[in-house]
Structure formats: C-alpha cells, structure tokens
Symmetry: C2
Subunit: 373 residues, 2 copies
C-alpha cells in the first residue's frame, strides 16, 4: 500500500501535469509498474521526452510525509473519494494536451473530495478587484454557502480571497485549488486564509509538495476549478484575465458559465461584459440565480419582486379614463369623456369601478384622482 | 391645400391615436372626406365609438396656427418627408391596436423627418438616473453624435435629457418625441432644452398642440421613439420602466435592442440586466458598438484594444522554460530543464530564442529573467 502511494507520488512529480502519455501508461500497467518503467527509462519516445529531466528525482516518501504532516493525503482514481464523474467531462472534449484529468490530487481537509462537485460553484475573478467586485463576490459566496453550495476558487488575492472568506464566514464549504504544492502558501499574504480553508474546507492541488506556482500552472489549475464546479461565476475580470481562462474551461467541460455585469466604466468588468456579449455566459446578479444553475433538478430561483402599481389591474377603458383625470383638480363626466376620447356613457362604468377600488373619487359630479401616499 | 391641412389637423385630434379605424377610412376616402364623415357621424360603429366624444370639437385652424407660430408643421403620409420606410415595420407585426403608425406628426425643426431613421439610435432610460447612468448616457450620445448618428429620445428627466444635451453639445442631431403637444413643454423643467432641440434638431409628436401628456400617451409615444431609430439603447431602467416598453417596441418592429450593464447593486440597472439575461438585448458598452448595429452596411466597430504581453508570441516550450526561471535569482541549464520538466537539450533552443527577444539573459552559464519596467 505504501509502495503504491510512493509510486503515485513519484509519478505526480516526474512529468509536468497533465501528461496524457503518463496517464495512459498508468492505466495500462498500474502505478507501480509505470513508476518502475519511467525510472528505468523503459518507456516510449514521447513519454521519455516528458520524464527525462526528472526521472532520477525520487522524493516520493518525503512528499507523502510532508502532506501527512499537514493532515492531508494523496488521492487517485483508485480511491473512493476520487471525483470520477466530475472528471469524466474531460473525455468528452476534443482533448488538446491540457484537457486531461489530473493523475493525482494532493488534498488537505476533512471533507471527501467527491462530495464537492455535485453542489459547487466556482467564484473567480481578478486580483485587482474593485470595492464593487469584492462586495458582489462576498454577497454571492455568502448566498451560495447559505444554500449549501460549496464555493470553489483559486486562493488568489482579490475576488478569489473574498469568495473563500465569505463562504467561511457563513460556515459554508469552500475549496481552494492551488497552482502550487498544498504546503506552499501562495500568495504568501494568504497563508492564514489557506490554513483556515484546509481546516474547514479543502485545499487541493495536482502538484506535489514544494512546487512553486508558475504562469502556465495557473492556467492548468483553472481547468480543475472549473471541473470541480457545476457552474463558474466570473465576478470581475479584465480584458486579459485568468478568470476568462477558467470560464473557457467551464465551457469546454460542459459546465455553466456565469458572469456578473458591472459598470461599463470599470476596466475589470470588461472581461465579464465580453463573455456576456459573445453569448458565452449567463448574466447573474444574485446567489439564487447561480443556485438555479448548479442546483439539483427543480431548484428554481424565486422571481425577483417587481414593484406593483394600483393601476395594474385596470382594463384599457379604465386606464384611458384614469389618464383623462388631471393631476390636480377635478373634471366633469363630459370633460373626462372628451379627454379620454371615449363616448360619455362609456366612462361611467370605468369611473364607478375605480371609485370602488379607491383610485378616483367624485364630489358634486366632478371627478378627481385619489392621491396615494 | 389649407383645407387639406385643416382636415388632417381635425383628424389628429378627433380620436385618441393610434386609431386604426380612422386610418383605414382616411386611406379609403382621403383626409377631407374622412373629416367630413366623422364630423357628421356618418361612420361605422367602431369609428363612431372612438370619435363620438370629440367630433364636435374643431380647433384645426387654431392648431395649425399654433404650430406655425413655433415654426413647425404638420406632416402626413402625403408629404415627401413622411418616414414611410421606418413606419412600414408596423405592418409586419401581429398588430394589436397600439401597433399602428401615426396618422399625422406635428414637427418643429428644420431637419427633414425622413432623414432621421436611416441613421439614428434611441438612447432611453429612467428618470431616476444615477451619476453612472448619466455619465454613460452622455458618453454614448456624444459618441453617436460624433459618428453622425442622430440621438432620439423622449425629452424626459434623467437619461433622456442627458442624451439630448450631450448630442447637442457635440453638434449632433437630436430628436425629441413627445407624449404631449409640441407646444406643451413637458416636463416644465425642460422648457429651455426642448426649445433648443426644436431649434437645432427636431421636436415631434402625434398629439395636436395643447394636448397634455398622460400615462398611456407615454407608452404610445414610445413606439415612435423605437420606430424612428435603427437601434434602441436602454442605459438605465428599473424593474418597471418606460424604457423597457420602448425596448419592447423596438423588438416588435424588428429594430435592434441594446442594453448597458451596470452594477448589480443598482436598482436602476435591473431592467437592463433583465433584458440581457432574457436574451432580449445586445450588451453594449461604447458608442462604437451601437454604431455597428445601426450603421450602414459594413460599418464595424473597431476591436477593443486588449493589453498585450511580451509572452504572447512564445511557443509552448518557450513558455514552459520561461515559467521555469525564478522570479528572483538565476538557474543553470540543468535546473531550468528540471523545473520545466523538459530534457536538457530541449531548453537550449527556447532560452536562446528568448535571449534574442530580450526576455531572458545569461551570465556565467546561469539564466535569469529580464525585468521589464
């Protein structure tokens, strides 16, 4: 068993993930045999290319010890908590090199990983969030947490951090998917936040302990944020944004993409507006909208309340008569008829009905509007 | 000729517009004969119903005099400047009672009315505009005016007024379509603005002089705002908004509907977001977007500029190598290979290419990133 775990840990580091050639080999011969062949260089040309630089590095036991010290574990397709259903979406796409499930996941936290994707939304956005974006991200995440929807994000500054914090503050489940090892607090300013997420939610990475984040790793990581969530909500995103990459992954994986609109004068709403304009995202303004999109069948957002008016129930003749009464002062029945453009006898019925409804009143044969508040 | 004009003026007042029965009669027997029959009550039951209350009122000459004093005129389907093409859209719809072209238009201003619809956008929205909405309305309208697109609106407080003013300030053409007679400045606080629009653009109404606005007249008027414009842009609109009514008319008439997004925390962006969410409007953020939608064929909005990065041109191996270099400090070639997960000989080419591009540099066999700015 421990030899198995060491084999998986070795494989997790030997090739930069995702590495489809390595995944194929593991599927064919199992993790221990695959690790053995890679170590000996007894693999095909493509896989040799991807493993040559690191095949002599074996810190598998150290990695397992490191994650155990954090109270974490390595999770693979052999484990019950592997979110196989969530990752099955990778198989449906055209599968460029990046579009593959992870080989292993390093996980810290008490929640079972496979319990996340069934009811989770990614809340993502720019690090350079505005006060508006932070407000909306917090509001959305708190609303999701209150409705038992896990909040998945990338642990970054800005929108990500606000989303995690708001979910924690609402005693909700939150999951941080990192582009670095689970023992590498990145950004450093989020060390305490990530520790708290590990304690109350989950911290997840496909990179072994000690791995530093990199530009490509952020993009690669984004596919897991999308895959672990039923919907991805972009709260604020600039013209060039990692959040747009997560949204792209969500679309590729058949997940719902949502975007929050914002002021057109805000450079960090440009990415959201582009997603909406191009028809690549649903416009959402409230947690309820998102819950409807990630929720289990039949969970519909309550209609937003629309203001009502006492005139809503009037028929056309009544509305014409109502309009024919002046804002101030009163009119005789004949004057009302002329103003409404209706025959005199035809304004009596509407006036009487509206008098009963308390909308108009008469005195000495002169009609006037009843003022409401 | 004057008898003709008097007949049209009489018909303009005798039935609340639009009155399809009256329009049919005029089409069949001409304006003078139609006026004569209505006056005598020698008309069918339906038309009698709609004309009975006002058929004895004849202030046609007074109305013509009043509009002439303003320097205006009455325009009908018999006149060259009648925007027949714009109004032909009414015929294509399912035609509820309201969905008919006007019988006459009272017009003040030197521009020919039929020159408007070919290149015009309606800019509409709530009277309770926010500073944000006013800013966007002004920016959009100035941009439209600068691109020779007429700005059509309803002359109201809030978005409408800002739109008219910005068009005037940019020496553009602006058209106010009123729900009252052209001699009735409504709202009173826009008396000077409406006078200026009449001097430099057009003030238009289907109601004869002296007619006061009413709730239904605002809704009826909205169809003309939409009909005279290639696209209708809703800048800010509450949950219950006249602007949504104009947008509905634009859709009915086959015109493009646009909506400007705003903060989801703003109650006067709710109407815009609903239009966008329901797929009933295009999301626009700039005048260029609108020009593309109303413009003559082939006029495309320039792509928004996206920020670029020196890494944009790199191939995959180069990006992996670039990512493998630390933010601070330097690495040997072997260290770079391990970090990138690429064979040692395969990082030399990428490093050399990026050195030429000025992205990385080496000293004593150790490579590091070149800092930009």
């Amino acid at each position: 068993m421990n030899a198995d775990a060491r084999a998986w840990a070795y494989l997790s580091r030997v090739a930069e993930p995702p590495c489809p050639e390595l995944a194929d080999l593991v599927t064919r011969v199992g993790a221990r045999e695959a690790a053995d062949r890679v170590r000996r260089g007894a693999v095909g040309e493509r896989l040799a290319f991807h493993t040559e630089a690191r095949r002599d590095i074996d810190c598998a036991q150290d990695d397992l010890d490191a994650v155990e010290r954090l109270g974490g574990r390595i999770v693979t397709a052999r484990d019950d908590e592997w979110p196989a259903l969530a990752f099955s979406a990778f198989g449906r796409s055209a599968r460029p090199r990046e579009c593959h499930p992870p080989l292993v996941l390093w996980v810290v936290g008490e929640v079972r990983l496979d319990e996340v994707p069934g009811r989770a939304a990614a809340v993502v956005g720019t690090r350079a969030a505005t006060a508006y974006g932070e407000h909306v991200a917090a509001d959305l995440s708190a609303g999701l947490a209150a409705r038992d929807v896990a909040v998945v994000s990338g642990g970054a500054y800005g929108i990500d951090g606000v989303a995690h914090r708001a979910a924690l503050a609402s005693d909700g489940l939150t999951v941080a998917v990192l582009a670095a090892g689970v023992d590498v607090p990145y950004p450093a300013g989020h060390t305490a936040l990530l520790r708290r997420i590990a304690e109350e939610g989950l911290v997840v990475s496909e990179y072994p302990p000690g791995v530093r984040p990199g530009r490509l790793r952020f993009l690669t990581r984004n596919r897991l944020v999308a895959a672990l969530s039923g919907a991805t909500v972009v709260v604020e995103a600039g013209a060039r944004s990692g959040a747009a990459s997560t949204a792209g992954w969500a679309r590729t994986l058949g997940r719902t993409v949502c975007a929050v609109p914002g002021p057109v004068t805000s450079s960090v709403s440009v990415g959201c507006h582009r997603l909406l304009r191009d028809g690549n995202a649903e416009l959402v303004t409230r947690a309820e909208d998102v819950v409807e999109l990630v929720g289990r069948m039949g969970e519909l957002a309550p209609e937003e309340q629309r203001p009502t008016s006492p005139l809503d129930g009037l028929d056309e003749a009544q509305r014409r008569v109502y309009d024919a009464l002046p804002a101030r002062g009163a009119r005789t029945l004949d004057e009302v008829a002329v103003a409404a453009g209706l025959p005199g006898p035809r304004v009596i019925g509407p006036l009487a009905a509206m008098e009963i409804a308390g909308l108009v009143t008469q005195r000495d044969g002169r009609w006037k509007l009843v003022r409401h508040r």
